[in-house]
Symmetry: C2
Subunit: 97 residues, 2 copies
């Protein structure tokens, strides 16, 4: 199992229509084959200034690569993520031991 | 639900006895009342240089505060975390919407 997470901040004003439209479009990433446990999250720790997170799981590297290379994901990154995300950090986990 | 996560790197040599002892001791955090879904994880993305992660969930802020203030957690942070962790980032999530 690989858990792919990304924590990020949007360029949009908090609570704006543009923010909601971005999140709504991102929900469609859950439909890409191999994506499990897709979650949209609010980052709430005061110890960092990221505002949102996505989390999803893949059975293994083949499914993760299939997601990364899927046309919807490629287009989402190009057309929405790059212009609308101010900053982000990707963190991926596998079970330990 | 609050998901508390921390991604970190130890000062210890990878694969060392000291690394394993730190992780073994940290497993006991799962026994603090209110801690659910405790996980020890390996950070595997090449896009950051953190090496491990812990994730746990709390029903709400009261349980999270109870964990933070629990004597075992306070002692773990003082005696193990501060001297043995090189760098870390805490990320906390709540469900969005």
């Amino acid at each position: 199992m690989i858990r792919h997470t990304v924590v990020f901040t949007l360029r949009h004003k908090p609570g704006s229509v543009e923010e909601q439209e971005f999140l709504d479009e991102a929900k469609k990433l859950a439909d890409i084959p191999g994506v499990k446990k897709f979650e949209q999250l609010r980052q709430v720790s005061p110890k960092n200034d990221f505002r949102f997170g996505f989390s999803m799981e893949f059975a293994g590297q083949a499914a993760y690569s299939g997601y990364n290379n899927h046309p919807f994901h490629v287009a989402f990154v190009r057309d929405r993520w790059m212009p609308e995300v101010e900053k982000f950090l990707e963190i991926d986990y596998e079970p330990l031991g």
